[in-house]
Symmetry: C2
């Protein structure tokens, strides 16, 4: 399978014109997460907890399993996270009156406030980095990144099940 079909794409012929995307993006992601960590620590949030806060606000979530899948966490592993968040009154976990097996998840006002504060701090740090890019590249980077992170082929949900 070693077709060296060097049509457009990589440079025509030999050495690659750029490093692999993954080779740049994965370390970048690690660095960004490392940069977030102190902020999260300062607010007593794990990354999973922050993920939960982020996702809960965007879309009302009906079951914990759906939330787990949305943030790509293990269904059984977010339970402790939710326990903690609930105990700290950052989220609510009410049994669905229509289906008492499920727990309706929602942010409390305080949860929303914390979420906003943390996200503001994080994005402020990120902007400091983006500011080092030329404006044109920065905008292209952000647009390209947002486009790529919503590509369905790239962001495969678990095959088989629909979001209802």
């Amino acid at each position: 399978m070693a077709e060296n079909t060097a049509d457009r794409g990589t440079t025509s012929g030999g050495r690659p014109a750029r490093p692999d995307l993954a080779a740049m993006i994965v370390p970048l992601g690690r660095a960004l997460m490392a940069a977030e960590q102190p902020v999260l620590d300062a607010h007593g949030l794990t990354m999973w907890a922050y993920s939960v806060l982020l996702h809960l606000d965007e879309t009302p979530i009906r079951t914990q399993a759906a939330l787990a899948e949305a943030i790509r966490a293990d269904k059984t592993r977010i339970i402790a996270v939710l326990d903690d968040l609930e105990e700290r009154k950052l989220i609510r976990r009410q049994p669905d009156p229509g289906d008492r097996r499920a727990r309706l998840l929602s942010l409390t006002g305080e949860g929303r406030r914390l979420r906003d504060a943390v996200q503001a701090a994080i994005q402020q740090g990120e902007e400091r980095l983006l500011a080092q890019l030329p404006a044109a590249d920065r905008n292209g980077f952000l647009r390209g990144l947002q486009a790529l992170s919503t590509l369905p082929e790239l962001m495969p949900r678990k095959p088989g099940r629909e979001t209802r």
Copy 2:
């Protein structure tokens, strides 16, 4: 110096204009790695092994520890990887005549060939994704990404020790 510019900064109270960078980049990195995986499997390479092949060619490496740090792997963990690559005649591991503790690492011709084949296949897949972006965004994305992945503040080497 951290004053944000007039555009879509996040400091002034409102909803964020974009998701957190890490929230987009980390899943994107995962997806890219998942996309690479079949290619690597087809050639019997782990990600670490591929990392080694990539890095070995760019810069001559004198010690395994230096290589490990370069690819951000654990010093002790790449040993098995190197053993395998050497056995398959993809790399050479010669004792440095000047310092017989160290092992000079280099790619063999076959190693270089495999590296090229795998990288071509990987980048070809990546280009298929990038092709879905508008050309302007794609270029900005790539430029921004390359710029960010070389920012020293973002890509911290191990604190404390310098490359000597």
